[in-house]
Amino acid sequence: MTEPLLRVRDLKTYFVTEHGSGTARAVDGVSFEVYPGETLGLVGESGCGKTVTSLSILRLIPEPPGHIRPGSFIEFEGRNLLTLAPRELRAIRGNRIAMIFQEPMTSLNPVFTVGDQIAEAAVVHQRLSRRAARARAIEMLKLVGIPDPDDRVDHYPHQMSGGMRQRVMIAMALVCHPKLLIADEPTTALDVTIQAQILELLDRLQRDLGMAVMLITHDLGVVAGTADRVVVMYAGEVVEQAATAELFARPLHPYTEGLLASVPRIDTRVSQVRGRLHSIPGQVPAATAWPAGCRFHPRCPYAWDRCRQEAPPPLDAGAGEPGAHTVRCWLLTEPQRRSARA
């Protein structure tokens, strides 16, 4: 296999909460890799630490209250991002690694034209002149499929629709042709048709520019359609990771199983689902007090004594190469419990 573009090892990002109610361990020992040119899906419910993971990669965690624990390791193109000086880090942000934010409505600065904002990264990193910056902005608008780019370049964000603003965000992120694009729920704020267009656009641009995409989402449908590999996060940990086809065919962690069962399917009869869509009971616990043992055990239908006492390490599910499919679940050691339950 090729060298990974981004290697995250044992990332721990904690937040010290006010009024002394303890430390929120939002990301607690996360490890994964992103390979050049691939799409990695990062999924999980709200509050699992997906966004904090992505912000940690660019070191955009507000400090205080947050901090990345010593011992964490984020390597990008052979350099540890966590030990870089602010100058070197800024040379990577927006240039080698770019990010698209969740909310196209609030991620654009209301007082500047979209052209100014798209060209900004190029101005910062490549010292473009005013005229060259404008030309680049128009070119990017064309690339992301906005009609009348010569006209639109002078518009303000409030003059555009949500879908167009998300395209502008993408244009902003891609202006320096980054090697890695972190897309934090890029389509959650959009309606389904626009969502499909944006995903298609991302897919096309990824192929054209040869960049890797880290797609953060809670929508498994989006993951199934676009990602090559999937990392499932729960309670600040990676609970399962595998190639997309493998994960959908053989989900091994009860949490992944639950997530997949909660997706409404067009090929199931209403009578078969017995009128209700499956949901995982309970909710993600507070990050200040993760449960002891396996963090999923209070919501797990299979949990037994061992799950309550001992936290499972990532176990190899033995599909293909070692490490291709890992699961943090004791069921792997006692598979008969799953069938007993079912």
Partner: protein, 306 residues
Amino acid sequence: MTVGTWLALAGALVLALVVGAEARRAAGPVGRRFFRHPTAAPGLVVLAFFVTLALAAPVIAPYPWYLQLDPVHLANQPPSWRFPLGTDPLSRDVWSRLVFGARFSLGIGSLAMLVAVSVGAAVGAVAGYFRRWPDAVLMRLVDVGLAIPRIFVLLVIVALWDRVSLPVLVLLIGLTGWFGTSRLVRAEVLSLREREFVAAARALGARPGRVIFRHVLPNTTAPIIVSAALGIGSVMLLEAGLSYLGIGVPSPKPSWGNMIAEGQDRLASAPWTSLFPGLAISLVVMALNAVGDALRDALDPHKEVA
């Protein structure tokens, strides 16, 4: 007063009215909210009138501000056709001095406010954006600045310094007047820094200076403009007070404050020397407050366009 100067005065009045009417006609949604305020239009007209006076002073004033016409026969003349606002104890035309005084009073007011707003915005933005120790240090400094009476500080400085030139006076007034603005801007920045576009700017690799001055500060222009409009009035009052005490604009240069001081000895027999500059100050400060209030209502982001 010649026909030419009367015409110039009439021209200034007409120009002020036209500015008011034109601004109202061309108003966008924010402008419409501005003019909905009942005192906004009259305030704007008064300001436009005095600004025109200041800019066109040599054309409008019948005499130079320093000219003593005839100290024996023409001192303390009451208002007449020749001297519309009378003459002062040194036989200078009060109207001419009032017109030139507009230059000093309005000029010092706006320049000092510009200094104050620039410093206040920069300090507030740095404190609000970086938080932690810069915030703590700067805001304690502001607390100290707000706790010491301003006029007292200025008196001490002027007493230590023999002669204060006009640029220094402007700087002194500006540098003692930014505390309120900095608090205002800091509060704005505290909420702006959590917005996603700030994180987006940082994710682009922008330096903190670029993030603050290009992305955050332009979003605080509305409160800054309002505080500046309201602040100019108080700076003008301060300048008038200092000049009245003889430590502001040095005589014989006319400022509305030292004109009041010059007429106070004969307040009973020749009140016009003090009365008219006093009226001018009141009018302009009232106009500034009216316009500032209307601006605050018009620029309030929580009010949507009706």
